[in-house]
């Protein structure tokens, strides 16, 4: 018997085929085909889900970056790093204004608005300066109030306060006042005589005036009044000097 006949028997093959006609049950066929179809649709869903997640992350990131970029121009003027947000509490609303302003200086960001809403605010150098002025003003002896014009006092103290706090000195041209003009805001040439309407309001009866005709004495008295922040005294001295000598009080002694 050859090798091929050894391994193949037509009679046995035919008998085998006659007896083998069984097929798998239909319900199993359905289960398998459904599983095969589901495997493909699952694959599609697995592809779609990460894509949606990536898109969502991208949108959130872009919106966050845009929001940060929107806030950047407010912070450009601030040298300090962006401070942390401080939540607003009801008790904070009850804190007096002076205390609030101190805390504002210490934690300059995220201060509540008047309506209680929180908003990120970079530190405001101008506001801090005025707060400092207010603090200094409350410490020192308050001069008698001038009716209808309180801008005089705060503006006059500014050079002294900034000098005290080591702030950047202002230009000399701003410090210099024109002789004979009353003390006004810094930006005005402050040594010029005050307008008559203003001088009329000054009550100089309580101010002791020097009896001497020494210009140096007048000058030093005026200078001391200015340095001590006694604005009304300084103005009265100017007015009296102008009345007595017919010329404005000199800015420098050599004049």
């Amino acid at each position: 018997m050859s090798d091929n006949q050894d391994l193949h028997d037509k009679r046995i093959s035919r008998l085998y085929r006659m007896g083998s006609g069984t097929e798998p049950p239909k319900h199993i066929n359905e289960v398998i085909i459904r599983a095969a179809h589901a495997a493909i649709s699952d694959k599609k869903q697995r592809f779609i889900r990460p894509s949606l997640a990536t898109a969502a992350v991208l949108v959130l990131s872009i919106s966050l970056v845009l929001k940060v970029l929107d806030q950047e121009p407010l912070e450009e003027s601030v040298v300090q790093p962006m401070p942390t947000t401080v939540p607003v509490t009801e008790s904070e609303a009850d804190i007096p204004v002076t205390k609030k302003s101190k805390e504002r200086a210490a934690h300059p960001a995220a201060l509540p608005d008047e309506d209680g809403s929180e908003r990120l605010k970079p530190p405001q150098p101008a506001r801090m300066k005025s707060d400092e002025y207010r603090a200094i003003e409350s410490k020192r002896e308050a001069p008698p109030a001038i009716k209808g014009d309180d801008t005089l006092g705060a503006a006059q103290i500014a050079p002294a306060a900034s000098k005290k706090e080591g702030a950047k000195p202002q230009k000399k041209s701003h410090m210099r006042r024109e002789p004979g003009r009353p003390l006004m805001r810094q930006k005005q040439k402050s040594m010029a005589p005050a307008p008559s309407s203003m001088l009329e309001r000054l009550d100089c009866t309580t101010i002791p005036l020097p009896e001497s005709d020494s210009i140096a004495e007048w000058y030093h008295l005026h200078k001391a009044a200015v340095e001590q922040g006694q604005i009304q005294t300084a103005n009265c001295l100017q007015q009296a000097f102008f009345t007595r000598f017919g010329k404005p009080l000199p800015e420098h002694l050599d004049e």
């Binding site: 050894d6 391994l7 193949h8 028997d9 009679r11 046995i12 093959s13 035919r14 008998l15 085998y16 085929r17 006659m18 007896g19 083998s20 006609g21 069984t22 097929e23 798998p24 049950p25 199993i28 066929n29 289960v31 398998i32 085909i33 599983a35 095969a36 179809h37 495997a39 493909i40 694959k43 599609k44």
Partner: protein, 181 residues
């Protein structure tokens, strides 16, 4: 789609064409089921194994390499599943061999009674073969695999398959004496 090769159908199924799987399944469902049934000799277990084999095929579809033949790959999965079943001890090999032969589905007419007896005897003899010999015979007769492909499916050498097949046929021929055509 009937003239499309198994490999093309499998490639299309891997790409997401579910109709390709339907065609592929239609071609191989019968032979695979009979192969499993003849091996495990228990209809309920055969159904369970058969379903599990196709589930494995579905899950492992990406592991099939487009350059290779589909049929040996399919039968290798089936063969390994049957071996796993035996190794799990769910059904001892001895018990299988002691069982009666699988009853034929349809009653045969009296004129072909002799043929029916021969077929029944053939399946009884088949059940009496050792698993490697039976497996080699079934893979050749049911799946139509070549000796090389049988060696690939069963994980043995060509000569070993040849030897197993030779012994199997010798025993079957001996048992089928008198069943001449």
């Amino acid at each position: 789609m009937s003239d499309t090769s198994d490999e093309k159908l499998m490639t299309r199924y891997r790409s997401g064409d579910t109709a390709a799987f339907d065609s592929l399944y239609g071609r191989h469902c019968g032979p695979i089921f009979r192969y499993v049934e003849r091996q495990c000799r228990n209809h309920a277990v055969a159904e369970e194994l058969y379903q599990d084999i196709w589930m494995r095929v579905i899950r492992a579809r990406k592991q099939w390499q487009p350059g290779t033949r589909f049929q040996p790959w399919l039968y290798r999965i089936a063969h390994n599943r049957i071996i796993d079943h035996w190794r799990a001890g769910r059904e001892s090999h001895a018990r299988i061999e002691d069982e009666a032969i699988i009853p034929l589905d349809q009653p045969w007419p009296d004129a072909v009674m002799l043929i029916r007896e021969c077929v029944e005897r053939l399946f009884k003899l088949l059940a009496g073969l050792s698993e490697p010999q039976r497996s080699a015979f079934l893979l050749k007769e049911e799946a139509g695999l070549s000796l090389e492909q049988i060696a690939e499916v069963t994980g043995t050498g060509y000569e070993t398959v040849k030897s197993r097949l030779r012994y199997a046929l010798r025993r079957l021929r001996a048992g089928l004496e008198g069943c001449d055509e």
